[in-house]
Amino acid sequence: MDDVRFSVDLVADVVQMWSQPFMVNAFRAGTIVAVLSALTGWLVVLRRQTFVAHTLSAVGFPGAAGATLLGAGALTGYFGFCLAAAVVIALLGGRGAGRHGHESALVGTVQGFLLACGFLFVALYKGFLNGTSALLFGSFLGITGGQVTVLAVLAVLVLALLAVAGRPLLFASTDAETARVAGVPVRALDLGFLLVLGATVAAVASITGALLVFALLVLPAATAHRITARPARGLALSVLFGLVAVWSALTATYYSPYPLGFWLTSIAFAGFVTAAGGRAGLDRRHRGGRLVTVFPRDGLPGSRRTAP
């Protein structure tokens, strides 16, 4: 650390850091955002919808740029575009969105076109060019108390929705066919989950910027999935990793000249690599004892399923 203010006495460091009101707000917002994205992200990884998640998070940028162009608040834009894109993807792709060739082409087009719209908005609003990187990469320094309140309300809403729909959603995510036969409204749950994902992404993007939401959404959750497949433990671990990543990244950013996005992604990615490496090592040791056959999850790529 080239910064003299960071000392060995961690308590004094935290006290010093939290004497700044903007850091307190950043920690509050960061905590909410970490919990929200870790829980939703765990389901994203379970449902293998990382591409859709990335598309929704990228879409926040044109939303914010468009809202700035029209003079509305950036938050309105984030929510409007993310939720609209979630509906479009759900209607076009259904459950397969982002996983099979055709649907992923649609998702990719939605992302490309909306990002192009964002560029158009930026070009139309000429003085705005320097704000572009703030929209893409976020700025945690200017978070107000009002924003924290909005985030908290939203987080409670999303968590309540997930708690209510949790069991059927988990069932539909692990085995859609069986769930449909058992009478679970799979299509409605798909749309509902995409809307929740859109809202989460919009809220998180308003803090971290459109390009880095994805890291917070996927990395802690993927790390948890490498460690355990059990839902309750996995969700708890995901939240824990998210919180550790956000808190340590905020601290590191405060005491170093490098940006939050770099610290956040690096810390979270280091966790993921460690977990993935550990898992690979364990698997290798176990494989010595018994025969393990690995079947691909969705059948072979390109193989056709016979119509029922």
Binding site: V45, R48, T50, F51, A53, H54, T55, A58, L92, R99, H100, G101, H102, S104, A105, L106, V107, G108, T109, Q111, G112, F113, L115, A116, C117, F119, L120, V122, A123, L124, L129, N130, T132, S133, L136, F137, L211, L212, F214, A215, V218, L219, A222, P257, Y258, P259, G261, F262, T265, S266, A268, F269, F272, A276, P296, L300, P301, G302, S303, A307
Partner: protein, 295 residues
């Protein structure tokens, strides 16, 4: 209409058309194979990664293209190495490229603090492209590399399509599936680095996915859909460049992607109409139509 007649008297437009045509052709061909192999997300990751490479080159004071090609090809091969049969897992792709994006932010900060002037414009150029300012030398180079990617794809098209449609049977028949997977991702990486110069790293995905999605909807036979996808991509670039020339408010990248998206929407609508008319023409009693879709 006189504006259209004199359009090609402008050198910058001739260069934009030259570079745009071959970059689009490469993107369209690669895109269709990506759709066939269900690897669109990989292209998404590579396109975002290209931006980190560009900033690395800028921060180190190198030519932009060195950074672009080096990063995308390295990451492409790395992702291929991480997956079974050179097909990486979505979560691994997502995790890796989230981190590379984070590195991009770091490099952007380093570059901005080191060179205080003109940085905002540079980042916007990398992210969203500026084909009208590409210049003669870079246009010729881009066209040559694009053409090279197309030729290589044409050579490996047959085994690659076989391997994409049925990996196991292809492997049994002696097709080098893993090697093809590596080669294809390397070509995708080169195409992505190319396209960054025309539409910018954030918008490549549209040029890769939209014409390919449209072609896959319209034609089931891969050997016909592949050239159709390339043609639709070229059409998008030509129409987009013309529109951007006639309406100066619109940035060329936006116009190109708007045309490409329009083509995909049109293909979706015709597909739906065709299916409806087919359903009507069937005899009553056979109410279930087997879904006929390519791939």
């Amino acid at each position: 209409m006189s504006a259209l007649a004199t359009m090609f008297s402008h050198a910058y437009l001739r260069e934009a058309f030259l570079a745009g045509t071959f970059v689009a052709l490469a993107a369209g061909l690669v895109g269709y194979l990506l759709v066939l192999r269900a690897q669109v997300f990989t292209a998404d990751a590579l396109s975002h990664v290209s931006f980190t490479g560009a900033f690395a080159a800028l921060a180190l004071g190198l030519d932009l293209r060195v950074g672009l090609f080096a990063t995308t090809v390295l990451v492409g091969l790395g992702m291929a190495a991480a997956g079974r049969r050179a097909k990486p897992d979505d979560v691994v792709i997502g995790g890796a490229f989230a981190w590379v994006l984070g590195l991009g932010v770091l490099l952007l900060t380093l570059y901005t603090t080191r060179r205080s002037a003109g940085n905002g414009a540079a980042s916007v150029t990398v992210l969203f492209g500026s084909v009208f300012g590409i210049g003669h030398g870079r246009a010729v180079a881009a066209a040559a590399i694009g053409l090279g990617v197309c030729l290589l794809l044409a050579i490996v098209a047959r085994p690659l399509i076989f391997a994409s449609l049925d990996e196991t049977v292809a492997a049994v028949r002696g097709v080098p599936v893993r090697l093809l997977g590596f080669g294809f991702l390397a070509l995708t990486a080169v195409a992505a680095a190319e396209a960054t110069q025309v539409v910018g790293s954030l918008l490549i995905l549209g040029l890769v996915a939209a014409p390919a999605g449209a072609a896959a909807r319209l034609v089931g036979n891969p050997y016909r859909a592949l050239p159709l996808s390339g043609a639709l991509a070229v059409l998008s670039v030509w129409a987009g460049l013309t529109i951007a020339y006639l309406v100066p408010v619109l940035p060329p990248s936006f116009a190109i992607l708007a045309v490409a998206t329009g083509l995909l929407v049109a293909a979706l609508l015709t597909g739906r109409l065709r299916r409806r008319s087919r359903r009507r023409s069937l005899a009553p009693g056979t109410d279930r139509v087997p879904a006929v879709r390519g791939g």
